[in-house]
């Protein structure tokens, strides 16, 4: 790629487990992260689940 401008920030669209994981890994490795979530709180679908396989851990 040509020597174009690189901005050291990232926008993640979606605050479910996937978006949060991407946001955490990027923030932890030196990038400024904007996490954009459509609803009033992050957590996504997993926060609706009761328990998860295999440990029956509470999904929260």
């Amino acid at each position: 790629m040509l020597d174009t401008k690189k901005v050291g920030s990232v926008m993640i669209v979606g605050g479910g487990v996937t978006g949060m994981q991407a946001a955490l890994d990027l923030a932890d490795s030196g990038y400024y992260v904007y996490l954009v979530e459509k609803t009033g709180a992050i957590g996504g679908a997993m926060a609706q689940l009761d328990k998860t396989f295999p440990t029956n851990d509470c999904s929260m």
């Binding site: 990232v10 926008m11 669209v13 979606g14 479910g16 990038y31 009033g40 709180a41 992050i42």
Partner: protein
């Protein structure tokens, strides 16, 4: 940024300008402390989205009790005031914080970013419009997501399983699979949603936990439990939990007219027409891309697949069709939580590949004033008592607690705050610390789990060591649970404050431990996973040592022809190898294996050795284990005796070379699950169903006159691979189901090979005459996996695959910090999933390698050398292998016995050693025996 949506993405990779529309919340986030008074008073109730319409929420609400940010919001569509100016407004009147703002407006933000990651997720299929299975007609037909809420302690029935129609207990429950999946006629979604089989089993097992005598039946087409440990769970559900599984399609769901019982009619596996009644029918709804996400895809200008998921190449599974825009999770194809988390990390790796030159440019490190030395000072405790609006003060007599706290030993200052956590209170606490020369702090408020980090920052800002604060949880543990007995709650609040003050008086300043990081990576294994991880790390700017046991790079992928979507694997692998060879940051060690490992996160020293015994020592901060797997060798179906019985990999080669047996053969039989899903190998090899279907299609494509049979147990063409299965059926491939107790028999019969199998549709034995039999053999772990695991102190599971730190949330991490896993070494998986996992491992490693030092929590075990007698009891209980036995030396250097040594980098401060030690020879800072004794004495001193 919540309540926000992307409306425009301008620019190019590395330099985008994104327009974000933020909808009004009508609640000031800085002022709202989530006390809940507004919601209590709000007169408007609507169906709650979070409870999947099983419960109600108010017009002013939090999405769920543990929401982040924990701030209320007003739903403008149901709010009486916002619909009719001047009306209602109760919430505004009761909000002590003054957070309600009916005049809030939409805001437009324009944000410059280098990359965009789309992770908008899925929606559950809504069966209402399709009108299937009585949903929306019969109240006792619910979706799986609704059952999830009914089973949840935070759900509408607090976890009690009752019939929605009449509240009667549920004794019989039926799950109908593939609602909104694998069904183009009723719902238009032809693909498999991948997750429903597994969640239905889980819900059935948990429902049986709630109601022990519950009869649970799952009606399905193919049981797709292809993930790690899933088949074991399926077997346990059958055998231990007694969940019934019936392979059939239901004719319809109806009531008997009198009760609300639901009647299902179906043909059972013995071919009989059966009628059965159930209290509750659960529709296992599939995953689909919501409309607003289709709009997002349009705005982002990215391509979608025919199934409306983001289109991604198999060797770059998080790359969309637009450079600089990445995707992950269910938007990139229906998938479960672990695979979604993997892709989240993989997207981070892909972004970092693009933006590495700008790493650290926009981030800053918070700075704090110099810390005050409190050693030798008398404790001067400041106590801050939170009202939490009316949450605490509405129950507890906070003034009485304040007066009481002032009488406690060492307490120099007491104050009450409306909200101790608010921003202005932080500044005020800081000011009080300086004004009154306080050196210990008690905050009597809520839980340290959520708020201790905040108060630690406040202490740091005031120049005090962050470990000199103690929280007394007078809300969650007190006012919330003792609301009906305020006097006793007040007494308990005093007890909790007294205990916290007693403990904090003995607290010391603790220094977080910081160790330097070697900013280099080690990747073990030169297959697709190892190559991908090595290349990504190198492109992110880290030096990488790649160790490969053989003299060849490429691994198992060298034998593969195409991915499920038809990408040519040899071309892709050759490109990957070229890129790795051309990258100056990657040093390749061919024909070397790992022989010895020292060190810990950030500072590993791995010794590798070749066949001649030559050793090299590699220093690295992080490592990726990607040693792959291998094909099993069949021991059944006359594989040894008949030359025309071949494995799938052998068939691929013969087919490609147009070998004469394949060319002449007219009749082919594929046998699935050879070495998988039985006995000690109770796991699914995940790739074989798709592989056989692709081979069958290739045979028919070459000559439509060929007869191709696939004998299977469950066809597991999960996700969008389902299209291949549908195509094969359409093109005349014959699929015959067999059960484990009736495995096919293979007999050589002159020029023919006879394959005998019981046909479950015709209910009679079949004899298929074949010219060639292809065995779908299992994937096995490498034999040396467990030995390598021991060197790095990382475990393998019962099947010999590496065990990740957490099945759901840490799918590429090991319990040993700094080591990660990818590819077949973790579990059988197709190429695109190996690539995603390799990228994820790389991203996780980069979170360490991008730093020069790793800072560790200061709460650690330390040895009291005088007290420790080297009994080693603590070594057995330490879950982190942080303690070792060393020689105890006298002043003259002579050995006088043994004692323990704690590796601070590995210790997590859990305290098991301190609890076990009979001699008080090991102390956990921040939780010393004196502190805990003082706390207990204070609890008992009334």
């Amino acid at each position: 940024m919540t309540l926000s949506e992307v409306t425009k993405i301008d620019g190019i990779a590395g330099d985008f300008l994104v327009t974000v529309k933020e909808s009004p919340r009508y609640v000031d986030m800085d002022k709202c402390i989530a006390c809940g008074a507004c919601s209590e008073k709000c007169p408007k109730k609507v169906a709650g989205e979070y409870d999947a319409a099983t419960g109600k929420r108010k017009a002013i609400y939090v999405k769920y009790a543990q929401a982040v940010p924990l701030k209320y919001q007003i739903d403008p569509n149901s709010c009486i005031r916002l619909q009719k100016p001047g009306a209602c407004g109760f919430c505004e009147k009761v909000c002590d914080a003054g957070a309600i703002n009916f005049n809030d407006t939409e805001k437009i933000h324009r944000i410059n970013v280098g990359a965009v990651v789309l992770a908008p997720g899925f929606e559950a299929f809504d069966p209402t419009d399709a009108g299937v299975w009585g949903y929306g007609v019969h109240k006792n037909v619910i979706t799986s997501l609704q059952l999830e809420r009914y089973l949840s302690a935070s759900g509408p029935t607090e976890g009690h399983l009752i019939r929605p129609s009449d509240g009667k207990p549920v004794n019989k429950i039926a799950f109908l699979q593939c609602v909104g999946s694998r069904d183009e006629n009723l719902c238009g979604n032809g693909y498999c949603s991948s997750v429903c089989c597994m969640y239905a089993i889980k819900e059935a097992v948990i429902a049986k936990d709630h109601v022990p005598d519950l009869e649970a039946t799952i009606f399905y087409m193919d049981m797709r439990t292809h993930g790690k440990e899933f088949d074991l769970y399926l077997e346990r559900a059958k055998q231990d939990a007694g969940v019934q599984f019936v392979r059939c399609r239901i004719g319809g769901v109806e009531t008997d007219g009198d009760s609300d019982d639901l009647r299902l009619r179906y043909v059972n596996e013995q071919g009989r027409q059966v009628e059965n009644f159930f209290d509750l029918v659960v529709l296992s709804v599939g995953l689909q891309t919501p409309k607003h996400v289709l709009e997002l895809a349009r705005v982002a200008d990215i391509k979608l697949t025919g199934d409306n998921f983001a289109a991604t190449p198999d060797f770059a599974p998080v790359q969309t069709s637009r450079q600089g825009i990445f995707t992950c999770g269910a938007f990139a194809g229906p998938k479960d939580i672990p695979q979604s988390v993997v892709e989240g990390s993989a997207a981070a790796a892909a972004v970092s590949d693009l933006l590495a030159p700008a790493r650290h440019e926009l981030t800053s490190v918070a700075s704090f004033p110099e810390e005050k030395d409190i050693a030798g000072e008398e404790p001067r405790i400041g106590v801050f008592i939170c009202h939490c609006g009316s949450n605490i003060a509405g129950v507890i007599d906070v003034k009485a607690v304040e007066e009481y706290a002032a009488t406690l030993p060492h307490v120099a200052y007491v104050e009450r705050n409306l909200f101790s956590c608010s921003q202005d209170t932080q500044e005020m606490i800081s000011k009080r610390i300086r004004e009154h020369n306080l050196n210990r702090i008690v905050v009597a408020a809520c839980t340290p789990r959520t708020h201790e980090p905040l108060f630690r920052e406040t202490l740091k800002a005031a120049g005090l060591n962050e470990y000199l604060v103690e929280m007394a949880n007078i809300r969650n543990h007190n006012s919330w649970v003792h609301g009906k007995t305020p006097k006793r709650a007040t007494t308990k609040a005093k007890d909790l404050v007294r205990m916290a003050a007693a403990k904090v008086a003995l607290a010391d300043s603790l220094r977080p431990i910081s160790v330097p990081i070697v900013q280099k990576a080690l990747v073990i294994g030169g297959g697709v996973s190892g190559l991908t991880a090595a290349l990504n790390l190198a492109r992110q700017g880290f030096d990488v040592h790649l160790v490969e046991k053989t003299d060849t790079l490429g691994g198992n992928a060298l034998h593969l022809k195409q991915t499920w979507s038809g990408e040519h694997i040899p071309t892709q692998v050759a490109g990957l190898i070229d890129d790795v060879l051309a990258n100056d940051r990657i040093i390749i060690h061919r024909e070397y294996t790992v022989s010895h490992v020292d060190g810990f996160v950030g500072n590993f020293r791995t010794t590798i050795i070749d066949r001649e015994g030559t050793k090299k020592v590699i220093e690295h901060g992080a490592g990726v284990v990607a040693i792959g797997g291998e094909a099993s060798v069949p021991t059944e179906y006359k594989y040894d005796a008949i030359t025309r019985v071949v494995t799938a990999m052998q068939f691929d080669k013969l087919f490609e070379l147009k070998e004469k047996h394949v060319q002449q053969a007219r009749r082919f039989v594929f046998i699935q699950c050879v070495g998988s899903r039985e006995g000690e190998h109770m796991y699914c090899s995940k790739v074989c169903c798709t592989h056989s279907v692709q081979s069958a299609l290739a045979l028919i494509n070459e000559d439509p006159a060929r007869k191709v049979y696939i004998l299977y147990r469950d066809m597991r063409t999960y996700g969008q691979r389902e299209a291949l299965f549908a195509k094969a059926r359409k093109q005349g491939v014959i699929f015959i189901n067999y059960e484990l107790h009736g495995k096919p028999r293979v007999v050589e019969n002159g020029p023919d090979i006879d394959v005998e199998v019981w046909d479950h549709v015709l209910h009679r034995p079949l004899r298929i005459k074949a010219d060639m039999v292809v065995l779908a053999t299992a994937i096995r772990p490498r034999e040396d996996a467990a030995d390598l695991g021991k060197l790095y102190k990382v475990p393998v599971d019962g099947h010999g695959f590496f065990q990740e730190a957490h099945a759901k949330l840490r799918p590429v991490d090991f319990s040993t910090d700094g080591m990660f896993v990818a590819g077949l070494a973790h579990y059988p998986k197709p190429v695109e999933e190996s690539v995603a996992q390799a990228l994820a491992a790389s991203a996780r490693a980069a979170t360490l390698l991008s730093k020069t030092r790793v800072s560790l929590d200061a709460v650690k075990a330390a040895v009291d050398e005088d007290a420790c007698d080297g009994c080693a009891l603590c070594i057995d209980v330490c879950p982190y292998n942080a303690i070792s036995l060393v020689e105890k030396k006298a002043a003259d250097g002579g050995v006088v016995g043994k004692l323990i040594s704690v590796n601070k980098a590995q210790c997590k401060g859990c305290g098991l050693c301190q609890g076990t030690c009979p001699k008080r020879g090991v102390i956990v800072s921040g939780f010393t025996m004196q502190q805990i004794s003082a706390q207990i004495s204070a609890a008992l001193a009334v």
